[in-house]
């Protein structure tokens, strides 16, 4: 085992650092010797002490020496002259910072690592810290050495195979990987004879202008130089994980930002290819408007020289932190809804914000007296212009990424929000943040067209909940639609026509009128119960995310609120909401329901939506990680506070508590114990304080819970099947991943069998079964769900009248026949054709 010597000026420091490191050992032993201080209290280093310490822990595996600073290095070096040369040959003096290096080295040594591995672990400890604080070039990676590749420790060349060359995403992938290693990586385009640029700098890698077929030289120095070069070559061989046959890599695809396919004059039907997707039913036609067209104007005051560079730099750091946080959230949302490939563009944004080259430039300008907005804007615009000047069209389009980051950070610097004033007509945008979507009012905005997003994206869900017709995933070319061009869309079919001719417009309008008529009929009957033809009542509930949704649910005849999401209270803030604040929020929602039952779901987040006030470790796959009830049980104080607030409201309203993401009975029992404690505490510890009609249920999203439903039955009043997640977990297919869209269908017989399992378990009991996923409002699915035994459909509030009308058309016995056949079908497509055909 490798021995470790700690050289420090202070005996106390060395001893404490060693204690910290030993805590990591959990009983294993590592030989650590100290050479620190001239005595217990006198600072200083002593080469003879170092020599003795080395001799004490020396063995055939060698010795790693960690030092603090100054004379510690000199004494350690001198000690190598003092020990036997045979010993000195197996001693390494390590450049790692003392505490971090010692902890990492101790753990590695305990695990039996070789001397080189222990040293590399110790050095990497600094990289971890740097990556945490300033995600940027790894230890020792400096940008000041562009041309310094003559003495590289490793060198190789590769040929760019990516169709669009090393554009932002592969470049971001490359830079991101390079940064994790302790090596200084330089890249040079041999084909264009470009100068070398640091591989860790995204903005510089992009300026290589590396196109398909270009030969790139990669050189590296540093302790992991060889690994770095090998890594880059492996990445290059995998085309930087950018699939060549990916639709996003196809220049004609609509799925890419920045592609200027342009909108031709006359009617342009956008509907070929994958998008647009229907996202929120309804028909709209009106003048297009975009929220992002206003150029950010800097006032003379914004541009005036600043007196205090430190303060200006702080402004920039704070703005970057804000935008970084927003971008991380957007990235997580996009990854969840659309998949990693689409989300990767945000990696490019993030990396740009951490680009040391770029930030150094900004900082220089700030130090020279420029104001923060001026310094930021000048620098970043210059980068965008550099990219625009490249000959490759695709790379030129990458300038859009840079401009997007430029605008976002600039707005944050100026303290302006990215919120906008909704205008009459059809909103055309890249995507909407939940905050932006929340601003939209169906009385003002007649329709929404999004270039990105999927029908299951948050913005689509919000559009549906607001009853605003929407199509999403329409492709970047819609962003080029000139203001006030008439846009017509059908949110039920996904049809989108830019600048329709008179005939098309009339056709849309008559369809809209038909729909209006049907809606009026449905609306007139909305308050009536939904009885099937044979007289069975099916509850149709509203999914609610805010007070306005609750009002809409009530107005549209919802029998209850089947899913009240509470995430809105917890996201986008720095501390958890208090019990009082939560009570107030829940009370407002519940009051708007005018006595209808309110099923409140406890906090349902995971590592994809990290809460700043909850210590959540980074997970490789947050959707199979600590989320939903798992997180609540890991942080019981959060759950306890939420249950306290819900129970207060439950004292005077019919309330149900619903726990999300349950996979085992023990989890439910643990949550129920906390609920019992909260109830006991609310009643001053006495029994009988439980509100009579407080119900408890669980979401069924995990296949294991569906299969074990019978075991849950004694412990719940209801099940609510979250078909979106259940489908994704059952088919192992991320919803929203375009490539898997046919696979991730909730009507897959596998998913239906799970729903069947839940319904059977509940059948002879009082336990109710609801479906609260998207499929609940799918007219094709309704007969199947009812046939399987579902008692309740919970849908967007505006869909309630239509779903009630649909239920009224159904005969339960016929539904049961359909369901039985569906369970034996071979595919979702089969199921669909059986019902519609």
């Amino acid at each position: 085992m490798v021995g470790i010597v700690v050289v420090s000026h202070s005996h106390a420091l060395a001893r404490a650092a060693t204690e910290i490191a030993r805590e990591m050992l959990h009983g294993r032993d590592v030989r650590i010797a100290l050479a620190a201080g001239l005595d217990e209290h006198t600072f200083g280093t002593d080469a003879v002490q170092v020599q003795e310490a080395i001799e004490k822990v020396d063995g055939e595996d060698g010795v790693l020496v960690l030092m603090d600073l100054g004379s510690a290095l000199l004494s350690a070096e001198l000690a190598l002259d003092l020990v036997d040369p045979g010993v000195a040959a197996r001693v390494r003096l390590c450049a790692a910072p003392l505490v971090e290096g010692l902890v990492a080295a101790t753990v590695a040594a305990a695990g039996g690592a070789t001397l080189a591995e222990v040293e590399s672990e110790a050095v990497a400890a600094l990289a971890g810290k740097q990556a945490h604080l300033h995600p940027g070039p790894a230890a020792g990676a400096s940008s000041a050495v562009d041309e310094d590749h003559g003495d590289a420790d490793a060198r190789a060349t590769f040929t760019v195979a990516n169709r669009h060359g090393l554009h932002a995403r592969p470049a971001a992938r490359l830079a991101g990987e390079v940064r994790t290693l302790d090596a200084r990586v330089q890249l040079r385009n041999l084909t264009t004879e470009s100068p070398a640029v640091p591989g860790a700098s995204l903005s510089r890698v992009a300026t290589l202008g590396a196109l398909r077929g270009h030969e790139i030289e990669v050189t590296a120095t540093g302790s992991q130089a060889k690994e770095a070069v090998d890594h880059v070559l492996a990445l290059a061989a995998r085309q930087f994980d950018e699939a060549d046959d990916d639709p996003g890599d196809d220049g004609s695809s609509a799925a890419h930002p920045g592609l200027s396919s342009g909108v031709a004059g006359g009617a342009t039907a956008i509907g070929s290819g994958d998008g647009p997707y229907p996202a929120s039913p309804g028909i709209a036609a009106g003048p297009a408007w975009t929220p992002g067209t206003s150029v950010i104007k800097l006032t003379a005051e914004d541009l005036a020289p600043a007196a205090d560079p430190t303060a200006e730099w702080r402004r920039i750091r704070s703005a970057l932190a804000t935008v970084r946080r927003e971008t991380v959230q957007t990235r997580a949302r996009t990854a969840r809804e659309l998949g990693e490939f689409e989300a990767a563009v945000f990696d490019a944004h993030l990396m740009l914000m951490d680009d040391s080259e770029l930030l150094d430039d900004v900082r220089r300008r700030v130090n020279d007296g420029a104001s923060a907005p001026h310094a930021w804007s000048t620098t970043v615009k210059a980068v965008a212009e550099d990219l625009s000047a490249l000959t490759d069209e695709y790379l030129r389009a990458r300038a859009e990424d840079v401009r997007a980051v430029h605008d976002q950070v600039l707005l944050a610097l100026l303290g302006r929000s990215s919120a906008f004033e909704p205008r009459p007509g059809v909103l055309v945008a890249a995507d909407l943040t939940p905050a932006q979507a929340a601003l939209l009012d169906r009385d003002v905005v007649s329709g929404i067209v999004l270039a990105y997003g999927s029908p299951t994206s948050h913005s689509a869900i919000l559009a549906r909940s607001r009853g605003i017709p929407a199509v999403v995933g329409a492709g970047a070319q819609v962003l080029a639609t000139p203001e006030d061009t008439i846009v017509a869309l059908d949110g039920e079919t996904g049809q989108l026509v830019v600048d329709p001719d008179a005939e098309t417009l009339i056709e849309f309008k008559s369809r809209a009128a038909d729909r209006e008529l049907r809606l009026d009929e449905a609306m007139a009957a909305a308050a009536q119960p939904a009885l099937t033809r044979d007289g069975t009542e099916i509850h149709v509930a509203g999914n609610v995310g805010c007070v306005a949704d609750a009002v809409a649910a009530t107005d549209h005849g919802a029998d209850l609120a089947g899913l009240i999401r509470t995430e809105f209270l917890f996201l986008g803030r720095d501390s958890a909401p208090s019990v009082d604040e939560q009570e107030e929020a829940y009370r407002a929602v519940v009051t708007a329901l005018s006595g209808r039952r309110a099923i409140i779901r406890t906090l349902d987040v995971g590592g994809d939506k990290p809460l700043p006030y909850v210590d959540q470790p980074i997970e490789a796959n947050p959707f199979l990680g600590v989320r939903g009830l798992r997180l609540a049980l890991a942080r019981p104080e959060l759950l306890r506070d939420q249950l306290r607030a819900i129970c207060r409201v439950a004292a005077d309203h019919p309330v149900s508590i619903m726990f999300p993401m349950v996979s085992a009975v023990d989890e439910l029992l643990a949550a129920r114990r906390i609920l019992d404690e909260v109830l006991a505490e609310a009643g001053g510890g006495t029994e009988g304080t439980r509100p009579d009609d407080l119900e408890v249920g669980i979401m069924i999203e995990v296949p294991s819970a569906a299969l074990k439903a019978a075991i849950f039955v004694p412990h719940v009043d209801f099940f609510s099947i979250g078909t979106n997640d259940l489908t994704q977990y059952t088919l192992a297919a991320e919803r929203g991943n375009d490539a898997l869209s046919t696979l991730a269908d909730p009507l897959d017989p596998g998913v239906l069998r799970l729903i069947d399992s839940v319904c059977r378990a509940a059948a002879s009991t009082d336990t109710r079964v609801a479906v609260c996923g998207e499929v609940a409002s799918d007219p094709v699915a309704a007969p199947l769900l009812l046939g399987l035994g579902v008692d309740e459909l919970s849908v967007g509030p505006y869909a309630v009248p239509v779903v009630k009308q649909a239920v009224r058309q159904l005969d339960l016995r016929h539904c049961q026949d359909l369901a039985a056949r569906a369970l034996d079908s071979v595919s979702a497509a089969d199921v669909r054709s059986m019902i519609t055909g």
């Binding site: 000026h9 001239l38 006198t42 600072f43 200083g44 280093t45 002593d46 080469a47 003879v48 002490q49 600073l69 100054g70 004379s71 000199l74 004494s75 070096e77 001198l78």
Partner: protein
């Protein structure tokens, strides 16, 4: 022809250096407080006091034994960077002088050069870094030059001491590039380097008692 450095002369040199360090310890500490961690005077005084104590009880039958004893004591007792640096200087000096009781002027000059090389190897300082090297290097050059020009050892050491002091004075306008003072960068300009100051004392001590 020059005189020689005897064993007792070397002993006297070390004691004189100790006396000068003791005399100047407050100045050294004051200089180090301006640009370092303020311990150079204390460290050197502690180191040289330990050297005196070590010499008092030790058998030092040869130049090598004497100088090695000094070097090893400094390595352990100084605590700061001066410990390994002065320690290395004396250890190299010891090897270069050899197991003799009398060192001739040329050997002594070569030994000084070896000591200086040791300091460079250890501290990786270069001319103009604002370190002890900026006093030691001109001193070693002056010593060589004077002896080559036929000076006596005493006169050559006098020239070396003058050169060390000139070198020491020249450190004031330099920005520090090594050691703790380098953290101050340009702010170290205008302060005389404490290491160069003690190094000048080393040669002044030699000039007054050796040869």
């Amino acid at each position: 022809m020059s005189e020689t450095a005897t064993l007792s002369g070397l002993n006297a040199w070390v004691r004189e250096f100790a006396a000068l360090v003791d005399e100047h310890k407050e100045e050294l500490t004051r200089l180090d407080s301006a640009i370092g961690d303020g311990d150079h005077g204390i460290n050197m005084e502690r180191g040289m006091a330990a050297v005196l104590a070590a010499l008092d009880g030790a058998e030092t039958p040869s130049s090598a034994a004497l100088l090695k004893n000094v070097g090893m004591t400094l390595v352990s007792a100084v605590g700061g960077a001066s410990g390994p640096l002065y320690g290395t200087f004396f250890l190299r000096l010891a090897s270069a002088c050899g197991e003799v009781t009398e060192v001739d002027a040329d050997t002594f000059a070569k030994a000084v050069r070896a000591g200086l090389d040791g300091i460079v190897a250890r501290g990786k300082a270069e001319s103009g870094d604002k370190t002890m090297y900026d006093a030691l290097a001109p001193a070693a050059d002056a010593l060589d030059e004077a002896l080559a020009g036929g000076s006596s050892l005493r006169a050559a050491l006098e020239a070396a001491a003058d050169a060390a002091e000139a070198g020491r004075d020249a450190t004031s306008p330099m920005p520090a590039r090594k050691g703790r003072a380098s953290y101050l960068g340009e702010r170290s300009v205008g302060h005389q380097d404490p290491g160069a100051t003690s190094a000048a004392l080393l040669f002044r001590a030699a000039a007054s008692v050796l040869g």
